[in-house]
């Protein structure tokens, strides 16, 4: 059943993706509206799928049946909707929609099961750990998306081109706001999530294995995240430089994510 909901969500996202491209291609209010509604429906189905697959499990088996990707996709979508509510812009959809679609696609079509090997004694902390870290990821991705659109818009303004797609992108200041606020919300989540992870590790193994690639990369990503916020705060870095840093943080995040496949502790290893 969860897989069915997930596939319906995937269908919704596909529609959303299609129409957001149409809406960006030419000024079309209805295409925008369809994209939003589709994304909204997809988000709900994804949530239902997540609840159905996580709730009955005796222990957290996030890795099983590809629950990780939909969870991340769900968080990204939630943040996207929050941004839409505040700023009334859907242009981040250029980044967000394909990504969410891809994440959901991997989960909805994946046949192989990944086994969870986390015999944790601290289930509550584990939930906190996962939720916070994932929320941090989502914030980072959104910030990256906003920076990316900022770059497009900045280039257009500098080269003195106007009209078409560019006239429909939000103002630089708005994109900058979104990008920074996403970081400002995401960073504390990420920090607390990592701390929660340490608690879980200590409880389960008695110590934290810092040599584990996943943990190393996570700490690296956290450091880049910190650097990103720091440069923005003090030097007001935005635009190109901020976008490069966000790209860096995004890249480490992806590697850290992928490291699940090599990490012993996070147990995403195929059995």
């Amino acid at each position: 059943m969860p897989l069915l909901w997930l596939r319906i969500a995937l269908g919704c996202y596909a529609v959303g993706l299609l129409y957001i491209l149409v809406a960006l291609g030419r000024a079309s209010e209805w295409a925008n509206r369809i994209a939003l509604q589709a994304a909204y429906l997809g988000m709900i189905f994804e949530f239902v799928s997540l609840v159905e697959s996580i709730l009955p499990a005796p222990q957290i088996t996030l890795a099983a049946e590809h629950n990780a990707e939909p969870l991340l996709a769900f968080f990204i979508m939630v943040m996207f909707m929050v941004v839409y509510l505040i700023y009334k812009t859907t242009s981040l959809g250029i980044i967000v929609f394909p990504l969410v679609f891809l994440l959901t696609f991997v989960a909805a079509t994946g046949q192989e099961r990944f086994l969870s090997m986390v015999p944790s004694t601290r289930k509550d902390w584990l939930i906190v750990h996962i939720a916070l870290i994932f929320f941090g990821y989502a914030a980072l991705i959104l910030s990256f998306g906003a920076s990316f659109v900022y770059l497009i818009q900045e280039r257009a303004l500098k080269s003195k081109r106007s009209g078409g797609l560019l006239s429909r992108l939000p103002a630089l200041q708005v994109l900058d706001d979104i990008s920074f606020r996403a970081l400002a919300v995401g960073f504390p989540c990420m920090t607390l999530g990592l701390l929660a992870g340490i608690v879980v590790a200590e409880a389960s193994y008695g110590r934290v294995q810092y040599a584990d690639p996943k943990i190393l990369l996570s700490i690296l990503m956290w450091a880049v995240y910190l650097l990103l916020i720091y440069t923005r705060w003090t030097a007001g870095w935005r635009g190109r430089r901020a976008a490069y840093l966000a790209t860096g943080a995004f890249a480490t995040a992806i590697i850290a994510w992928a490291a699940n496949y090599f990490s012993a502790i996070h147990g995403f290893v195929r059995s």
Binding site: A27, K158, K160, P170, A171, L172, A235, R238
Partner: protein
């Protein structure tokens, strides 16, 4: 429908003519009253703006001499203005009104004020009762058409003056202009205009620096701003988000190193330089810095030109919409034309039916309720069957040019006018107030 329109606009007449024919706002009610008394005028509205003076009426026969009214009303020799006046009737008047309301007939195509002006003219005519029936429908329809044009085409979406392009660009950079500071370097007409536009869009304060300090003070007073000595320019300029330069300096005042300095002081918050001066006051190198955007007069004018071209393209699409709407309005009015005929036809046959039932009622003796019902439904059925074809024909004919002929034929066949006169009903031709 008998709509008639007479007027002058910015194309047909120069300002010397238009100013003679203008009807000041306070005079409009008076003029409308006189117009209503003019023989044959059933409904009327007067639209008087700086670009046009138009009188739109619905008349009793569609051929009322509106020039005579103009001659009566204005203390001018109308013959001299004859070649500037245009007179439109029926469908052409409808199309003209739709084009005016949709801002297709404006000097700057797509400018948004005209719709408001038409609405005001409508409101004052309506308040006086000068607009009450078909003209009311026409005007209400024109607002809907204007709205449709605005939403379905991009006719009014782009800025078409240097000052408004500057505002549009500032908005693309800063989002909202609220709380943004504007710095005028050099005092000129154009920069003043741009500053005014920026302030109207929410920018808060103005700094003015000029070689001659007195001129700076004057201008600063005008904007409630702050005058700054020219020597202080580089120390104060980082306070501004938007800088407008228009000095007669023969070389660039702002060079790359200044830009770097400002950015440093501003913690990289973006700056927008609008360089209206020729030779340019801002080194184009500045545009290469992250967070600084420089637009010179050519960039702005190019944007204007391309926006105007966009509007022309959109105007063509708008004309197509208006074609459809004129057609639709005509059909609707014609359908309305046949409605009174259909109603009187129904009344007529119903009277006959009732009379016939009453006539035979006595001969039938006492009837059960069931039998009553059978008679009712039998007679009604016959009447409806007979009426079906004529009503259908009337409705179809309404959409074509033969409508009036068909209406006449039906009226004569069933002797409708006569039966109406007997019952003392209103004949349906709009009565004057």
């Amino acid at each position: 429908m008998n709509f008639q329109l007479i007027g002058v606009n910015h194309v047909s007449a120069p300002v010397e003519v238009r100013e003679r024919l203008v009807v000041p706002e306070s005079e409009v009610p008076n003029a409308l009253r006189k117009l209503a008394q003019h023989p044959g005028v059933e409904e009327a509205m007067i639209l008087s703006t700086c670009n046009r003076v138009e009188i739109l009426t619905r008349t009793s026969n569609g051929a009322v001499n509106l020039r005579a009214f103009l001659q009566d009303y204005f203390p001018v020799k109308l013959a001299e203005y004859d070649k500037h006046l245009y007179e439109l009737r029926e469908q052409e008047a409808v199309r003209h009104l739709f084009r005016v309301a949709s801002s297709l007939d404006s000097m700057i195509v797509g400018e948004p004020q005209i719709l408001g002006q038409v609405k005001e003219a409508y409101a004052s005519a309506r308040a006086l009762g000068a607009v009450h029936s078909q003209l009311d429908q026409l005007l209400t329809r024109s607002f809907a058409v204007a709205k449709r044009v605005r939403t379905e085409t991009a006719i009014g979406s782009s800025a078409v003056s240097v000052a408004s392009v500057a505002v549009e660009l500032a908005k693309k950079i800063f989002g909202s202009l609220h709380g943004k500071h504007v710095y005028l370097v050099g005092a000129g007409k154009m920069s003043e205009l741009a500053a005014r536009h920026l302030l109207a869009n929410g920018a808060v304060s103005i700094f003015v620096a000029n070689r001659t300090y007195d001129r700076a003070v004057q201008l600063a007073e005008k904007f409630n701003g702050e005058a700054i000595q020219f020597s202080q320019l580089y120390d104060t300029c980082d306070r501004a988000d938007i800088v407008i330069t228009s000095t007669g300096a023969p070389h660039a005042i702002f060079r790359r190193e200044h830009g770097e300095l400002f950015l440093n002081r501003r913690k990289n918050r973006p700056m927008f330089f609008i360089d209206i001066a020729v030779p340019r006051n801002v080194d184009p190198e500045l545009n290469k810095l992250d967070g600084i955007f420089v637009y010179d007069i050519d960039d702005l004018q190019q944007a204007v030109v391309s926006h105007v071209a966009d509007r022309t393209k959109e105007a063509e699409r708008a004309e197509a919409i208006i074609d459809v709407e004129v057609q639709r309005f005509q059909e609707r009015l014609q359908t309305l034309n046949v409605v009174p005929t259909i109603v009187s036809l129904q009344d007529h046959l119903e009277t006959i039916r009732q009379a016939e039932i009453d006539r035979v009622r006595g001969r039938l003796g006492p009837l059960t309720p069931d039998q009553e019902m059978v008679i009712e439904s039998l007679t009604k059925g016959i009447v409806n069957k007979i009426m079906h074809t004529p009503i259908h024909t009337l409705k179809t004919a309404a959409r074509e040019s033969e409508a009036t002929t068909v209406i006449d034929v039906v009226k004569r066949l069933f002797n409708l006018e006569a039966s109406k006169a007997k019952s003392g009903g209103d004949s349906g031709t709009g009565s004057k107030r």
